[in-house]
Amino acid sequence: MEIQRRDFLKLLGGASGAIALGLYGCRNSIDVPERLIELAKRGPGIESWKNTICGQCPAGCGVSVRMIDGIPVYIKGNPNYPVNRGGMCPSGHSALEMLFNPDRIKNPQKRIGVEGSRKWEKISWDNSLKIVSDKMKELRNSGLAHQVAFLNGNAQNGLMDKHFAQFMNAYGSPNYYSFPSIKNQTVPYNLLQGVEQIPAYDLLNAKYILSFGSNFLEEGYSPIYYTKIYSQLRDQSVERRTRLVQIDSRMSLTAANADRWVPIKPGTYAALALGVAYVLIREELYNKNFVQTSTFGFNDWTDSRGKSHIGFMKNVINNYYPEEVSKITGVPAETILQIARDLGNNKPSVVLGGQGAEDNTNGTFTQMAIYSLNALLGNIEKEGGVYFVDVPPLAELPSIVYDEAARSGLEKTKVAESNDYTYPLADFSFDAFTKNILNDKPYPVSVLFIYKGNPLFQTLNHHEFAEALKKIPLVVSFDSCINETSEYADLILPDHTSLEKWDAFSNVPSVGFTHVGIQQPVINPLYDTKNTADVILKLSSMIGQSVANALPFDTYEKEIRFSVEKLYTSGEGAIVTEGVKGAWLEYLQQRGWQIGRYNSFDEFWKLITENGGWWNPIRKQKKVEDLFKTSSGKFEFYSKNLEEAINNVVRKAGGESSENMKKVLQALNIHTEGDAVFLPHYEVVSIEENMPLYLVTYNLLTNRDGNSSNQPMMQELFGYTVHEHWNTWAEINPVTAKANGISDKNLIWVESPLGSIKVTARVNPGIMPGVVSVPFGMGHTSYGRYAKGIGSNPVSLMKNKYDKLNGIPALQATKVKISLAN
């Protein structure tokens, strides 16, 4: 805590007294607004601070909330929390506007009109829970437990995810999904290395950073974590400074801070990455030792059946020489040479791939191509390279004793399982899920829970999904505000906002150490809302003993305590305190990290809640078999996992034949043939539209995936970078602008075959010609007074296209045209 108790008591006396007096003094003047006087009447306030986790986005920053008389008035970064070390992003500051949002749902609501009609009726918690539990009991008793589905929108790295999963398992439904699924995003790492995690990057120790559209300072899984690192990098002296090169079609915030920005034609990262690999190989700048000892499929090889296969090297040498790559990507050959040489000569150097690379029809292969550069450089699990952090020693939830109903339910196929050849690697495919519900395949969905997600705003097929929602007899939304999706729900069971509730977050993806953050209420719930986790506990006890046994806690807080107790008993790591900074940290590291400072769990609990979390910056020494969990036990340039997966589909398609293979590859949107399919390679993006410009979308720090739009401060700040406020704009290069007769600040139509949006054109050189970039986040048709009808949603321009392997939406695979609007 920044301010000590003794201090604030003192200053409170002074400051508040002064204010009260001051106000009294101006009372005579007609100018003192009523509300000020109201404020003064509150009297001298008692100031206090409470640490919790931000919760405005999944990045998991620790925050300190300043309260006067128990009312939060300010939020700042928790200086001791290791993820963000006191830093914050704009959205974090507007958490108060989420808490005090006038459009919050104040009590459970039952829809009385048709879907989307916005007609609601207040209903008591008891009655609403009874409706839900009766229905669930009924289904379970008739052996239809699998017809209950659960979509968890935004809590993948929290205990909440496990909590929901446990509930659904014990209840007996295989249909629990996180969306967008982090597991989908780990597919490339799984294919190459057998790891189902998002890697962390040791930028601090790298000398050269090559980022393929990973906008880690602005988007990324934890932008503030990386901003802190960036800031540390800039403390280096100029000569020895780490160079950051950003490849992106637009000048993102990261590109703006990079030493060099390399514009590239959208969707062609893979070609560039392999072009870089070409130079590394040709000029022997790669790490031969690592490649020889720890990788598979670099050289040509022969399988057990005697069939010879081409290796990564030959594939690259044959297909990705710089001139060719230059043609594909629009990046000059000299630039490719230079990047590759810098990358090879400034070791340790590290290569990052972002979601921009992933959110495309060719995303899996693109991420594979990018990540394979790290293998070429021998970067894996090295200082200045990439690594995977350890899982924190949280207690597992009690193992479930499945009853018959649960067992039979869990045996059923998942609704989200694709029933054609697509999405063989997807953990969850929103596309298949939606289609299957619409077709009652393999069975109808009777109850759907949606937690903290807004698919009717976010997803490509949201029109379809709206239809799907209409088909489901009971849709239950756990949201804090009415948004596009909850308008289609039958019941809204309002959730606390992040400042009112208990939760625990562990290991935010891409953050470089093991950690657990404790979210706790800083204020009593303002309204008749409940933590969804507690609602689930309640439901489980209402449904029946076997479900209740799986979650034997009175409250979610107790469940968190239970989980956290193991952190204490494990003796690893430490509670986040002043110690996370500088000299202290080194001291601790030298001493082998402080263990067992706490006398009892109660003390541990008190400290962890006071300080906001726990962390362990020391990584366990990994054994090779833990590093590479592939069938070869090595990094697989040639992914046997992928081969296996595709062969499985081919088998499903009616047996292994080149005919069937062709069919499957076509369904999977793979245009390559032979061995190259299983190697990192460049796939042409499937954009069939005959439109001249690429549409590139991105997220701003002022708007997290669209959910900050109900916060007026964020709406005002929305486009602070270009002075656009409460407005969506499109950035275009002056060349593009001229060709289309457009000048800065003109209103323009951005039009795709699916529709058009009217936005303000901003003409600047920070984007490549032939590309239009539109920030994501506005254009709500619901979500409260501050969001509704403001700006435009680029998702409405996008076709329902996915990476057919891992089911990730192809957000960057749309072409558009632009024209002056009037």
Binding site: L11, I75, L717, T721
Partner: protein, 227 residues
């Protein structure tokens, strides 16, 4: 007399905009609605300048956070007809909201366009009124306001130091923007204190001030390799 000054390290600043949000929240700065924003009336005490340099594709883009510079020789206070903007004993350029007649002359005179005007009575939803910072007075329609260097925080720090009978230590008085900046790019302190970080940074060869030739003597230093 102390000389409070700010240094913003542009080599570290990413342009994340957090300082802007922190400032709005800390200082109860009115939230301007969509219609007003379309009329260019946003209320930012900390603004952001965006500068493109070079020819495509060799572009440099710099985002520069811009508070009030608390000029030592402020052109804005010279023109005020009623002494509603003035330099206080701490060298901070302050506004007296209750006296300002709203002529906006100081805005026209500020070479840095650092001030904003309350075109309408600031409005908040009732719920938001509960979470105002009680240390900062609210403004009314028709008056000018601007970054105060979070002067209310100085008030507290001073009282604290007085209670302990000691000097204010370097870094103790830190405005909201400096406090929250994730890149640790904003430094704040006393230029008169030769030991302070800000003093050292202000003497760095990387340091410069905006429009120095005007003789306004801004107390916000920027640090940049590229300058």
């Amino acid at each position: 007399m102390p000389k409070w000054a700010m240094a913003i390290d542009l080599d570290k600043c990413t342009g994340c905009g957090d300082c802007m949000a922190a400032c709005k929240l800390e200082n109860n700065v009115a939230i301007v609605d969509a219609e007003q924003a379309a009329d260019d009336r946003v209320m930012l005490w900390m603004d952001m300048m965006t500068i493109y340099e070079g020819e495509y594709p060799n572009i440099k883009l710099k985002r520069i956070p811009k508070p009030c510079f608390h000029c030592d020789n402020p052109p804005c206070i010279k023109v005020c007809p009623v002494h509603a903007t003035y330099k206080n004993e701490e060298g901070l350029v302050a506004q007296i909201y209750n006296r300002c007649i709203g002529c906006r002359y100081c805005m026209a005179a500020c070479p840095y366009t650092a001030k904003v005007f309350n075109w309408y009575e600031p409005e908040w939803a009732d719920e938001f009124k509960t979470c105002m910072n009680p240390d900062v007075s609210l403004r009314m329609k028709g008056v000018v306001e601007k970054c105060s260097f979070c002067a209310h925080r100085l008030q507290k720090v001073k009282e604290n130091a007085r209670a302990d009978d000691r000097e204010i230590s370097d870094g103790e008085y830190s405005p909201a923007c400096a406090d929250s900046c994730p890149a640790e790019a904003i430094f704040f302190g006393d230029l008169e204190n030769k030991e302070s970080k800000v003093f050292k940074l202000s003497n760095s060869p990387r340091a410069f001030r905006e429009l120095e030739d005007l003789g306004t003597i801004p107390k916000v230093f920027y640090l940049s390799e590229k300058e």
